[in-house]
Structures are given as C-alpha cells and as structure tokens.
Symmetry: C2
Subunit: 467 residues, 2 copies
C-alpha cells in the first residue's frame, strides 16, 4: 500500500470526516436536501493577538470548483459497507452548485466574525465542512502570525524558512504563501516559488562549511560560484572569526566588482553578535553588506532585538511562524445558520452559535482605518447598519463579498500580489493599539439589533427542539 507524499485529485474529496458522509447518507434517505447556510468563524482569539488575517480562500474555491467523488473514492466508500448503492450513485454525481461569500484573502478579521458563508443544498454544504476548516484555519493562522512578524520587523526584510519544521508538505506550502501574503519578501521553499511565484531565498547550510577542509575555502568556493548573490553563514565554528573570514571574501569580491549580499548569524546572542559583525564589516569598508539573522526567531524576539538596537537588516523566520508556535491552532468552526429558510443555532455550553445568513459590517474613519465591526444579517444594508455604529462612520463596508456563484468562482480573482498589497495597506492604517504584540486592545465587535432579535427568537425555538 503506497503511503505517498503525493495527493491525487481524486483523493481530495476524501479529506473528510466520516460523519459528514453518514449524515449525508441519512439526509439522502430522508429526502432532506433543502437550502442550507453554513458559516465559518474563529471562536476565540489566540493569546496576544490583536487581529487575525484571512487566508486560504483561493485554494478552497479551487477545491470546491473541482469537488467530486471519482470512481476510486466511491469504490472505497462502498467497501465500508455503510452506504446504499443509491446513495453512492447520488454521491458520484454531486458537484458543488452553491454560493460562497467570504472575506477576500488578506482581510483583517476578529474572533466571532463570519469569514466565509456557504449557501447550498444541505448535503453539498455539509460535505465541505472539514476541508474548509482545515485549509482556511491553517492559512489564516500562519498569515496572522506572519503579519505580527512584519509589524515587529519595522521594515526589515523577512524570509520564510519554515518548510522543514512545517507539519508536512501541504503545511509548508501554505505557510510560504501566507507569509508572503502578510508581507514577507520570499521563501526558501522551492515548490512555493514554482507554484505561487514567490521570490526564493537561500544560499548555504552549515554542512557546506563542514564539508570543506576550512571555512575560508568554503566561503571562497561559494562566492566564486555565486558572486552576485552570496550570503555567507558565519556561525559553523566561532562566529566572530566566521564574520572576519566572510569579510575577507567580501573584500575580494568587491575588488572584482561584485558585492557580498549578507553575512548570516544563526545561533548565539544575536544582539551582541550582530553589533560585532557590523563593526567588523564596517571596518573592512563593507557598509553595504547586510546582516541576516535566523534561529528560533519569532515576532517577540525580533522586536526585542530591534529594541536593543541590533543592526540586523533581514530575518529568516522558520518554525515559530510556520507552526504559529505560541498558538498552533485557530479554533475555527463551521456552523449551520439556516435550513429551509429557518434560522438555526446550537446552545452547547461555551459554543453557542449565531443564527441566520450573516454579513460582516465594518466602520471606517476618514483616513481609511477601521474602528468597529458589526455582525449582522445578510439582507441588512450598510446604510441602515451605519446608524448602529458610534461614533458615526465615514463609510461602512459589507466585508463578505461574493466569491462563488452556482458553483463557479466569480470571474475576477485577485492575484496574490494584489491581496498582499491590500493587506499591507489595511495594516498600515489599523490602529496601533490593535497591533501591539503583547497587550493589544480588544477590537470592538458587536451584533446588530436585527441579528440580536433573530438570535432571541431562535434561542427560544431551540429550547423547544428537545421535546
């Protein structure tokens, strides 16, 4: 049995929890397949986060457009001896025919808010639950973490080094794409470069230095091979001597008309070592050779280094961003809000959901910064909702926009670069108190009067649903 790193197209719909299929089989047998509305939201903000960043939508839309159970998938499901031939025939014919409204990639959002809504026949909408959560949560989690690193770096360049410590192949691709979306300048992940057009970075590992008889020889060999783009890794043995060796090579390159890009420090006291490295480089007249730092860095460490005045020009960020190490999960849930035109909610302790088809309304000030959100109903207008914001907004925007209609993505899709620019613009005007890395203010998110009224009705109705 192959256990394969590959993931074939026909396997994608089987990335599903069994219960979605048993529920679907029951709905099919009961003839329950009316219009349903499901909403995706994140229940709680992870610690220290003042905002989150939406990502993963483009890939989910692609998966929905291509969604179908092929013959091999149906054959496997048949082998489970759980499903009738009629249901399996129905399943084989299913395509996604619904509508999707969502926050475009790179949109700032907050806990509790709807980030994606699916309107489709009940069975179709239910079958998507796992893949939607799996993809959007991971992509948004890493985009959010990466955005924090970008804030911490205050203009210094950031490169994704996360592939090796990512949770498998797919996670490495998602983290590379999400971190680029959030403002990183590139990635070491070659497949991410190929797939997403992300600039690639990387030169040498310690093993390169170790495989050579001496460090100067290794540096010389590398610089000869790549005179235009070498970054020399200085900490295989003694770091300060490593920087001195790199500086000598940089001068030789300079004499030949080339430029060493950077010296990389990957261990030890980076604040101290970067100062010493800067001094050595400057003494050699190499003021234009950058200092690149890496090694278990996250946004707090980056902020601390820069506060301490460390003369670091660029950071490689791996593990901490790629697994969002201090908060390695977003508690995303995909909940039924409406079935057959009637609102639905659950009242489980600590997990109460909101009923109805929803919309997210955001109030902006004249400078284009957002300052409050209202979760409302999909059929409320921005003009009506505007009266519920205080102070009165300059503009109100309905943030969930049509992404897919009758199973097809809306024609004009943003490029990754466009989404990146839009996010960086929005982050620039977001209030600094929400961007604080340690003790951010809680962004005001409330529900509209109309949604509150519907929730009250639905809650009363829910109480009668147990008898």
């Amino acid at each position: 049995m192959p256990i394969d790193l590959r993931l074939d197209a026909e396997e994608v719909p089987l990335l599903i929890d069994l219960y979605e299929l048993t529920m679907a089989a029951s709905y099919f047998a009961l003839g329950m397949n009316g219009p349903a509305s499901f909403g995706l939201s994140v229940r709680r903000t992870p610690p220290r986060r003042g905002f989150l960043v939406a990502a993963g939508l483009e890939r989910v839309l692609e998966a929905l457009e291509q969604f179908h159970f092929g013959p091999a998938a149906i054959e496997y499901l048949d082998s489970l001896k759980l499903f009738s031939p009629e249901f399996l025939a129905f399943l084989a014919a299913i395509r996604f025919t619904g509508d999707v409204h969502a926050l475009p990639e790179g949109t700032i959002f907050f806990a509790g808010e709807p980030i994606l809504e699916v309107h489709a026949p009940l069975i179709e909408a239910q079958l998507l639950e796992t893949i939607v959560i799996n993809q959007i949560a991971m992509a948004s989690m890493t985009a959010s973490k990466a955005a924090r690193c970008v804030i911490a770096a205050r203009g210094r360049r950031l490169v994704d080094f996360g592939l090796r410590r990512s949770h498998g192949a797919d996670a490495g691709l998602i983290a590379a794409r999400s971190s680029y979306l959030a403002g990183f300048v590139g990635s070491s992940n070659v497949l991410a470069g190929r797939r997403y057009g992300i600039p690639l970075y990387g030169t040498m590992a310690h093993s390169y230095v170790m495989a050579h008889e001496s460090e100067p020889e290794a540096f010389d060999h590398f610089a000869t091979m790549f005179p235009q783009l070498s970054t020399l890794l200085a900490d295989t043995y003694d770091t300060v001597r490593g920087v001195e060796n790199a500086a000598r090579i940089a001068r030789q390159l300079k004499d030949r008309g080339f430029k060493l890009q950077a010296v990389r420090l990957d261990s030890g006291d980076l604040a101290d070592l970067s100062v010493r490295a800067r001094r050595i480089l400057d003494q050699h007249g190499l003021t234009d050779v950058a200092i690149f730092a890496s090694g278990n860095l996250d946004e707090l460490r980056i902020a601390e280094l820069l506060r301490a005045g460390a003369p670091i020009d660029a950071f490689g960020v791996g593990t901490e961003m790629a697994v969002s190490a201090d908060a390695p999960t977003l508690e995303a849930a995909y909940k039924l809000g409406e079935y057959n035109g009637a609102p639905r909610l659950k009242t489980s302790p600590g997990k109460t959901s909101l009923p109805g088809r929803q919309q997210l309304f955001r109030a902006f000030n004249p400078a284009g910064g957002c300052y409050a959100d209202l979760i409302g109903l999909a059929d409320e207008g921005t003009t009506t909702v505007a009266h519920e914001f205080k102070p009165a907004p300059h503009t109100v925007t309905a943030m969930l926009t049509p992404q897919m209609a009758a199973g097809l993505p809306v024609a004009s899709r943003p490029t990754l670069a466009e989404s990146r620019d839009r996010l960086l613009g929005a982050l620039a005007v977001l209030g600094p108190r929400y961007k604080d890395l340690e003790r951010p203010d809680i962004y005001p998110v409330r529900t509209t009067a109309a949604l509150n009224a519907l929730a009250t009705t639905a809650r009363l109705r829910a109480e009668k649903r147990q008898v």
Copy 2:
C-alpha cells in the same frame, strides 16, 4: 496558476529549501561528491515528554526510492537563472543510490539520539535534508503526543478527530497514521482509512440535530438509518435532556434487537456530565451503551477526568494531538557527520553536533525493558559497548537498522499493524517514571568512549578549520 491541494509526484523533489540546490550546484562545479554521512536527531525534548516515538520512516523511504527531478522541475529551476545547463543535466539524472539506517517506526527514542542516518554521495544526501526533517519530525511529534494520550487513557479507546485542525491536508494524514501507530483505535479521516487501512469512526455533527425540527426526531432518523453503529451527539442544546432523548431512542433500538453504541458529550463539564449521563443510561437499563467524550481533550485532561472517576469509555482527540498543541514542533536537525571518511562537526553555540557515522545502543533488563542508551560509532559492536553500561545489561541492541541499501528499501517492510504492536509492547515495559505525563525522569543517554574520543579529535580539528 493553480494553487492546488493536489501534490503531483513530480513536485515532491521541489519540497526543498533553495540552499540545498545552491550548495549542490557548487559541489557539482567543484567535483565534491564523495561519500557523506548525515544524521537526523532531535536536539531537545519538548516540555513534559519523557520519551519520543519514531514515525514517518516508511513514507520517507518511499519518497527516496522515487526521488528524481522530472522535466517540469528542471524547467522551473532553469528559469531561476542560478544554475548551469551542466548542473541541471546532472540533477535530472540524480536518483538516490545511498544507504539508510534508521529506527523502525514505533521505536521509542530520546533527545540527542540518531534516529536516521543517510550514507550517500554528498549531493544526494544533501538534497534530502528538508524532506527528511519535514516528514519525520511531524510524524514523530504526533506519534509521541498520541502515545501520551494512550498512556493517560489507561485502556479506554481513543479516536483521532484531528483532520479539521491539522495544518493542511498532509498533516491530517500524518496525524491519523501516527496516532494509530501509537495505539489509537481509529480515525475520522476517510482518506487515512483508505490509504492506511485504519478503522474509521464518526456518526453525526451538531448540524445534523440542528437541521431537524427536533432532537428526538434527529436521533430517531439516525438510529433508523444506522441501527447497528449509532453514536448520538447529546450536547447540541441542553446536554442532560439530550442524553435522556438518546436513552429513549436506545431503548426503542434495544426492543428491536439493536444496540446504541454510545452517547457523545462534546462540551461542558465532562466529569459531571458523564456521571449524569451514565446514571440516566443505567436507569434505562442501558449499561452497555458507552459514553464517548470529546472537545479540546489532551492527555492531561484525559488523565484528570479519569482520576476524577468520570465514567467515560472512549475519547475523541483532535486538535491537541494533531498539532501537538503544547509543543507543536520537534527541533529536528540533519547534520553532516562524516565526509570523505573524515569526521565533521559544527561547534555553533548551543547546536554542537556529534561527528562520525553513529549507532544507537540500548540496554535491556531481563524483563525486556530498556533502561539506558549509548550513542556510539557505527562500527562498534554490541559486546564491546555492553561493558560501558551500568548495571550490566541483560542484552544490548543496536537500534539503527538497515532500511535502504543502494537506493532500495530492504526487502521486508513492517506493516503499520506490526509497528503498532511492537510500540505498544515496548511502552508496556518502559519504566513508569519515563511515562509520567507531567514530571518524567530523564532517561539516561550518554556517548561511548569511542565516540567521545572522536568528538575530541574532531573538535580540535574544527578549531583549525577557520584559518
């Protein structure tokens, strides 16, 4: 540009950091491609872990066997304008021709120990770095976390519910396979069921109850559809009333000769609710209906529930296991130990590596339990090394075994079920003090006299490598 959940076979070798390719290009230009030995180890044990569990090897071997850069990959690399046509032609012809020694899947191991060694021409061995770390670290991390859950559950059944909160598609598959390896009884992940033959579990979500007009109607519909294997989810609205509704359905099933499998509790105070649910079921004469608990559970919470006497028969474990939430990364490193017959090491602060080709020796007592490990050299014999263990061992085993020779996996591969049995056997005889979930003892791992001597020599030599 497709952004695809699929991962094509030709994309797998591009799951690589750019620096491996730039180093390879330099080695190729220099004619440096002698025999190299790289070793994979985990630098530090995550907090509270008394042991780790090796996993991911079978998939890595499959990837190495199939490793090659196809035309599309070469074309992309050419487009980067970094590599010569000669190097790209060389790359296109590369296959993995080396040897691999490793801990079989399901082997217990500890920080600092070699878990996989690659012996191959330098370029081949270097190109594997990222994929080896990426796969083995994630699989071993989740197997280790799942093994802790198995210890905590003291015989109760555990099911993997992690797919939705896993970091992407690949992570969900790895977590399902690793948790089964560690003793879980199955998974909700349908693709994992298909690929690995893992038993599948799952019945209904809250949305199933919410889509119906009433909870009793939902339970009745489901039980009619699946009279033999229903688990009814009781906490959509009020949990106690939900259990009462489930009990009524269970009695109806019983009268028809069927059995309700379980009632599932997914929120609230599980210790209290499980006692109340047990009482209700027993009052209805349903002593054989199990209680299944889920909802943000990890090994500590499971242990706490069982200590409190919660009558829970099975646990669904999702997020916390699948992302190893309290320690979402293993600090795995793949380091050059030997090149052209000479030992190599790095002396970076806090990241010093061990030189040479290594072997892991484990001492066992007469009961078959291990009590100490020695990291030694590959050519040391177990009889010689036995004298370095105190007290004298009953047996000593060389734990790294041949897995791949000249690019081909050794003929007889263990099945997942065999690896699982072997691990459960080893865990049963592992000293309880290493299985403590909160304050485990540190298992004794030292280096042999021969490896110490080599490290001293290599360190002296390293000091001279900077001039």
